[in-house]
């Protein structure tokens, strides 16, 4: 009997995914070449970029051919290596623009935190995979927190806030996709929200001092000084928690005491980390928040980047001004044009079509990762795909959101498009993993 031939070929490589990200890298390379041409550092940047591309090819082939499940087996080793690397970079790393986050090698520098992000995705996927049966328990969440906290702390010591901006939502999305109890996610969200809200609120008060005429606002403004205000605030939070708990009791609503306690704890913890962030935050970062809250308040300063990049993409029109002919980028009106604002270059020189192409390619890429997740042969593979999917989604949202003025400037490059060797290599590594999962998927026949 002849074997059943359904015309289905078992491929080991998702050609669409490969084609999409290769196209993105090509577009990116063109944009980078255009952005740096005529500058004194052009040659060095292009050299580094091509070295990174070669490295990326190697990394891609390796991670594609290697069985991804190895990482699941060896996740503790991987985690240990990552922690050690992050400690090492704090000790022997070199600083660039105020962040000690680089290893200097003879030909180029490596930013280990970029690679650690992909590593962390695998560690998380592995951990969640092993704890899948207990996924709804609070212990799992606490363990997850315990796992990621050292890494976050180490990166914050560099300090590299933009890493946190990308990684935190990625982990969050992974937790959501793995089916963690929504209540805990809301708690985490609330904690992050409160700790972010206070610094933003204080920045807003700085920006609009007339708000302080209201008693409520001046009370809130004084909280960061650890005076009577803080004391009253903490006391009030505890008393309020108790009152809520007591009232619920009297109303015979049997809410677990644990929940109320947790809510108060989150409020206070959020507040204290908010104070901590407010003290830690750098002046230029505060300026960015200010610029987002009120872009016209300082058109020559922090709001400048937003305004100029908008002018850049707006002046590009439908087909753009042509490669190497964008005035906004080439004359230096768009800052960081080969890294964080690469989309401004794309928008100006390749126009609406270029922007649409990047956006669509990204969407196709996300769709392919999503499809691979559905056919992965195990939970680990599914969760890794979820992580990679979330990571690229967060990058997409942050970059496009910033360039069209929906989000504040975060200073984050767009993977595969922007210049940045470590970022390129780690992105390609992540995509290689997805290809590896694809190659080892559940077969149809």
């Amino acid at each position: 009997m002849k074997p059943l031939n359904l015309g289905i070929k078992r491929t080991t490589l998702d050609i669409t995914l490969l084609a999409v990200f290769v196209s993105l890298v090509l577009i990116g390379t063109m944009a980078i070449m255009s952005a740096v041409s005529g500058t004194s550092f052009a040659e060095q940047i292009l050299r580094t970029h091509f070295v990174a591309i070669i490295l990326a090819v190697v990394v891609f082939i390796l991670s594609w051919s290697l069985n991804y499940q190895v990482f699941s087996d060896q996740w503790k080793v991987l985690y240990g290596i990552m922690i050690l690397t992050l400690i090492a970079v704090l000790i022997i790393g070199v600083s660039d623009r105020g962040s000690r986050s680089w290893f200097r090698l003879p030909f180029f520098s490596i930013q280990p935190s970029e690679l650690c992000r992909v590593g962390l995705i695998m560690v998380m996927a592995s951990f969640l995979h092993f704890n899948y049966r207990r996924i709804a328990d609070p212990q799992v969440i606490i363990k997850v927190c315990a796992l990621i906290l050292p890494m976050f702390a180490l990166v914050m010591m560099q300090p590299d806030f933009s890493w946190v901006v990308i990684t935190f939502p990625t982990i969050f999305a992974m937790l959501y996709a793995s089916g963690v109890n929504m209540f805990y996610l809301i708690i985490i969200c609330g904690y992050a929200g409160i700790s972010g809200l206070f610094p933003i609120m204080w920045t807003l008060f700085d920006l609009k001092p007339d708000l302080l005429d209201y008693r409520v606002f001046s009370f809130l403004d004084g909280l960061s000084n650890f005076g009577w205000n803080t004391f009253i605030f903490c006391g009030a939070a505890i008393v309020l928690g108790y009152l809520v708990w007591y009232s619920l009791r009297q109303l015979r609503i049997m809410a677990p005491t644990f929940y109320v306690l947790l809510a108060v704890t989150v409020l206070l913890a959020g507040f204290f980390s908010g104070v901590f962030i407010d003290k830690q935050i750098k002046n230029y970062q505060r300026k960015r928040v200010e610029a987002f809250l009120e872009p016209t308040s300082d058109p020559k300063g922090a709001g400048y980047n937003v305004i100029q990049s908008k002018i850049a993409i707006g002046s590009g029109g439908f087909v753009g001004k042509g490669l190497f002919s964008g005035t906004q980028a080439r004359l230096g009106f768009v800052p960081e044009r080969h890294t964080d604002f690469i989309l401004a270059v794309v928008g100006e020189e390749m126009g609406f079509m270029g922007m649409l192409a990047v956006l669509l390619l990204y969407l196709i890429m996300l769709y392919r990762v999503y499809s691979v997740a559905l056919v992965s042969s195990d939970m680990f593979g599914f969760l890794v795909c979820c992580g990679v999917f979330s990571m690229f989604l967060v990058y997409l949202v942050v970059n496009f959101g910033m360039i069209v003025g929906l989000l504040p400037v975060a200073g984050i490059p767009l993977p595969l498009i922007s210049y940045g060797g470590s970022n390129l290599v780690s992105s390609v590594w992540a995509l290689g993993l997805v290809e590896s999962i694809y190659a080892r998927r559940i077969t149809v026949v």
């Binding site: 993409i313 707006g314 002046s315 029109g317 230096g332 928008g347 609406f352 922007m355 003025g405």
Partner: protein
């Protein structure tokens, strides 16, 4: 496993849907920015990268009727330093010294500018508004120093300094607030000069040209990258006036040389209201507003400028000139017999008040009364005809209205009369009759109004709107604006009355107080007036209209000399010079 995974698939799908929704939002925003607002952002990008060194375009010239230019443009120069290669301090120091000698400017200031240019790589302005006198020195500078850019601008130049200054007005820098409110919209720059009064202001939009400039491409730090293009300017449209240059000159000189040197002259064509000369003294030097930097580094002098245009703003009693109106009123209504005589004893008693005449005329009939300007005759006449009639004629000649000439701040004449007095709930006394008929009392009139009134007498009652602009012609010969004659009213003087008046007023010139303008071969009708002035010397009026024998009157001259003592001696000679000039080639 597979069931659980299916549950989780839903969660990942939700993230995928989020990605699609977000992409759609981005798509809409991108469409908005890149397609809908493309033009706006493109303009912003262009203005970001261009720095323009402007070349101020010449304003439109102002011509008189006989094609003399009374406002034109002169060259002025700006010196820019466009940095390229970095220079050392010593070189800059020498350069600064070199330049400072040539443009009469502080060396340290220039050195500071040069250093700034060198450090920032931006174009800097070294000197502005420099006179063309040392044009060769600049050219030398440019040859010696390749980085010097030498920009030719234009600025207003008035060849005759003071001529028609009140009419032309003056130009000046735009008020900052006005610039932001309105001028910025019509492509004015904050340092542009605009007309601040007179013709310069009224026709600003025609006179203004389009500035040229040198367009430099700059980067975000303002450093000059290259010179993109150079655009030449387009001059503004020329204004052609109805003014006659010769007459204007004579009028202004005459006023200047008159007893007090103060006053106003209006020369007009009575048949259409065309103004041939309008002068007001004192006048001012228009060039003072636009002096060169190297001649006057301290800035613009605009103190001590007499902007007060007596011709349209000065209100004075018409005095005996008003007797023309009284005579017309009386003749039209058959109140006088021209040959009846009145005995002038030098004054007339009304109750216990004495109303004086300027001299004792003895027996006086209508002709003599006008000829020698006898007040007593008119006192008697006024008592006979009543003030209501005079007031009626005042209104017939629109005496209380302005002439509507297009000049700023024209004042309406101030008239009075019994009806007006009753309307104000005042009393009319018998003495007012007498004051009114000799043009004293509350009646005040501007020289331009006087010219309109005399024109009406000369042309049979037609009140023309006086005008001074003939047309405005753009540089390519297109007429942008043309003034039309405008009839404001008609007092309809009967031909018989006009005949009598012509004869009487000619008498004044031939054998009476108007002797000053007696000319051979020309019929000149005139009347003098001496306005009593309690604060000093009396003011003198002289009004005249003239024609060649058997032709219609073609010129009206009104001369007013402040503190001129009397009409005949103070204002007469000025009128004479004007009429002489006008008829010089024709008799």
């Amino acid at each position: 496993m597979s069931l659980e995974k299916k549950y989780l698939f839903g969660k990942l799908k939700f993230l995928w849907v989020l990605a699609v929704i977000f992409s759609f939002v981005v798509f809409v925003r991108l469409f908005h920015i890149q397609i809908i607002n493309h033009k706006h952002y493109l303009e912003e990008a262009e203005s970001n990268r261009t720095h323009v060194i402007y070349k101020v375009a010449p304003r439109g010239r102002i011509f008189t009727e006989d094609n003399v230019i009374i406002a034109s443009n002169g060259p002025t120069f700006s010196l820019y330093y466009l940095p390229n290669a970095r220079k050392n301090i010593k070189y800059l120091n020498e350069l600064a010294e070199d330049i400072s000698k040539k443009i009469n400017k502080n060396k340290d200031e220039i050195f500071a500018s040069l250093k700034k240019a060198n450090d920032t790589k931006r174009a800097v302005l070294l000197g502005d508004n420099l006179s063309p006198k040392s044009i060769y020195t600049y050219a030398e500078l440019k040859d010696a120093i390749p980085n010097i850019e030498f920009i030719e601008n234009t600025k207003r130049f008035y060849p005759f300094d003071n001529m028609a200054s009140h009419l032309i007005g003056f130009i000046g820098v735009i008020d900052k607030k006005d610039w932001q409110d309105q001028y910025i919209k019509s492509n004015y720059r904050y340092d542009n000069k605009i007309g601040q009064s007179g013709i310069e202001k009224r026709f600003e939009k025609y006179l203004k040209g389009r500035d040229g400039g040198v367009f430099l491409e700059i980067d975000s730090k303002g450093r000059v990258k290259n010179i993109m293009q150079s655009r030449s300017w387009r001059p503004g449209a020329d204004v052609h006036l109805t003014l006659n240059h010769k007459l204007q000159q004579v009028a202004e000189e005459g006023l200047k040389k008159s007893i007090s040197g103060l006053g106003a002259v209006v020369v007009m064509n009575p048949q259409n209201g065309k103004i041939l000369a309008i002068a007001s003294a004192p006048s001012y030097d228009l060039n003072k507003f636009v002096s060169y930097y190297d001649e006057n580094p301290s800035g613009y002098v605009n103190t001590g400028i007499m902007e007060y245009n007596l011709a349209v703003k000065g209100l004075y009693p018409p005095a005996s000139v008003f007797k023309i109106l009284v005579s017309i009123a009386a003749l039209e209504n058959n109140i006088i017999n021209k040959e009846d005589e009145v005995l002038c004893k030098g004054s007339l008693w009304l109750g216990n008040r004495e109303f004086g005449c300027w001299k004792t005329h003895g027996k006086t009939n209508f002709w003599d009364a006008l000829k020698h300007s006898c007040d007593v005759y008119f006192y008697t006449l006024a008592q006979k005809m009543g003030a209501f009639l005079i007031e009626k004629y005042q209104n017939k000649f629109h005496l209380s209205e302005p002439t509507y000439i297009d000049m700023e701040g024209e004042k309406a004449s101030y008239t009075f009369g019994p009806k007006e007095r009753f309307d104000r709930k005042g009393y009319w006394y018998a003495g007012d009759n007498l004051n009114m008929c000799i043009g004293q009392g509350e009646l005040l009139i501007t020289p331009i109004k006087m010219a309109q009134f005399i024109s009406a007498v000369a042309n049979g009652g037609k009140l023309w709107k006086p005008y001074y602009v003939d047309k405005i012609v753009s540089q390519n010969g297109k007429t942008l604006f043309a003034e039309k004659e405008k009839l404001l009213g008609d007092a309809k003087i009967k031909p018989e009355t006009k005949q009598i008046m012509d004869k009487a007023l000619k008498n004044v010139v031939d054998a009476g107080t108007g002797w000053a303008v007696n000319m051979r071969g020309v019929d000149v009708m005139g009347k003098t007036g001496t306005a009593q002035n309690p604060h000093g010397e009396d003011h003198g009026w002289f009004v005249a209209y003239a024609n060649l024998p058997d032709e219609e009157p073609e010129i009206v001259v009104v001369v007013f000399v402040q503190h001129g003592k009397s009409g005949s001696s103070g204002a007469g000679p000025v009128a004479r010079k004007i009429l002489n000039e006008y008829f010089k080639d024709r008799v």
